[in-house]
Amino acid sequence: MIEVERFTKRFGSTLAVDDLSFSVKAGTVTGFLGPNGAGKSTTLRSILGLVHPDAGGTRVLGRPYRELDRPGQQVGAVLETFDAHPGRSGRNHLRVLATAGGLPRSRVDEVLELVELSGAARRRAKGYSLGMRQRLGLAACLLGDPEVLVLDEPANGLDPQGIRWLRDLLRALASEGRTVLVSSHVLAEVAQTVDEVVIIHRGQLVRQGEIADVVAMAAGETLVRSPDASRLARLLEGEGVRMVGDGRLVVAAPPEKVGEIAAANGVVLHELTAQRATLEEVFLELTGEEAAPE
């Protein structure tokens, strides 16, 4: 439902996105991950017709965004920058959007109720907290009851209850068959919400797939405990092994291999545990950068 095809974008001499291709299926929540400056926002803005590709392109529901018949009712978006006039009330902001999008006025109060912003709806937006601004953005996104949702860091500024609410909302929307693409730097958050991930780094795709596959594909590690740890360490030298003290080793190889080597050499093992990689570890391995702290 969202297709990015050989999308390339330069800003001056900086290559923001380099020949990026991926697609997002209907009925899924897809996480769009990458370190800051990886090109996430540029890609999302191109999907939404706000940024012009230098080469390649992006499609939503089979068409470039600009050629959609009723974009307001087909695609909803939350972008990182605040996009309401500070002097306009949240409710009037949504009324303007509903008018321009040809949507019934009644939707305004419905979405305000939905994002739990009704109480502040008649206040001017300049007085809104970060969380309220984010909720207003979500209200604008949901206004047209869209089939495709594109969200750039929607959890920013939300409190834990708000994040939980957002997670449930995105899951519910996807289960209705809608397409949800959500960028985030809070990896723990993403891991709980998404079905698929697209990971980019320096404007290029590094991995796309179901989250379970992406995590499984990463080289897991094996924890071994042995009374003869130093000999075992020598035997496993070629496998990337490190002592963690107290007769414990961590080996960058699957448990089967470690067990076979130990058995072949008659080393006694007291423990052999497979350690599954987390999304965060996969992310760090693929992008080689510090993940932003939660």
């Binding site: 012009h52 920058t81 006039h85």
Partner: protein, 254 residues
């Protein structure tokens, strides 16, 4: 397109900027009208000429419509609201067209307010002096021309805003152009026998549309007629609109 124009008008109504603009229009036009009636010789009281002179105070509405028109485009970039505007209407030329229509609405609204204030001041003052506000076909025509001129001013402002895009520079360029450059260009062009060219500049063209009502009208010999003035102003709107549409279409919203 009707929906887009309604949305633009709703945008104008839902921030507080209009309060300041209306107050400015009302006070300046009112003061202008008072000054004209107050300084008129007794012999002129109740004359059609005085009525026309008094009405010219309402042309201030055009200048403010121009400035407000500029901000109709530039404030969207300034506050980032352009993002949602383009998300709903990705064919950006349509946005600009709707904004141009909003510029016309601004002009007519401000002109109506200015004319009402001017009439109120003039009628009251003349009544106190024991005279009346003379009305004939010409005076009514002046009223219509002032409103038309203010409407075109609003749309020209939208065009300037679309071309320049950033608010403060656009407002400064607009003010300097109308108040300094055009008045200076006229005598300068006159020196090289191109005085007639000056009458095709936007402020001059619209002064011609306002006709005798305008205090800043060109030398009668070089001035365009009201119809020609209006058409020239329309030409400027089309030109600025095309340039602005081109600039808006190309810009990345980041």
């Amino acid at each position: 397109m009707t929906a887009l124009v309604s949305a633009e008008v709703l945008k104008l109504r839902t921030t507080r900027a209009w309060i300041g603009v209306l107050l400015a229009v009302a006070s300046f036009s009112g003061l202008g009208a008072a000054a004209t009636v107050g300084s008129a010789p007794d012999a002129d009281l109740g004359s059609v000429d005085l009525s026309r002179d008094v009405l010219s105070a309402a042309t201030f509405a055009g200048f403010l419509a121009f400035l407000w028109g500029i901000t109709v485009v530039t404030s969207e970039w300034r506050h980032g609201t352009i993002t949602r505007t383009f998300l709903l209407t990705p064919r950006r030329a349509r946005v600009l067209f709707a904004k141009g229509a909003a510029g016309l609405v601004i002009g007519v609204t401000l002109a109506v307010v200015a004319l009402l204030v001017v009439l109120a001041v003039a009628v009251t003052w003349l009544a106190i002096e024991g005279s009346t506000f003379a009305l004939d076909r010409d005076v009514v025509e002046v009223v219509v021309r002032i409103a038309a001129s203010a409407a075109l001013w609003g749309a020209i402002g939208v065009g300037v805003g679309a071309v320049l895009q950033s608010q403060t520079p656009a407002l400064i360029v607009g003010i300097v152009w109308v108040l300094v450059l055009e008045p200076l260009l006229e005598p300068l062009l006159g020196l090289v026998d191109l005085g007639r060219v000056a009458s095709f500049l936007p402020a001059h063209a619209l002064a011609s549309l306002e006709g005798e009502a305008s205090s800043s009208s060109t030398d009668a010999a070089d001035a365009l007629g009201p119809w020609a003035g209006g058409l020239v102003a329309l030409g400027w709107i089309v030109l600025l609109g095309l340039l602005g549409a081109l600039r808006m279409a190309r810009r990345d919203v980041t």
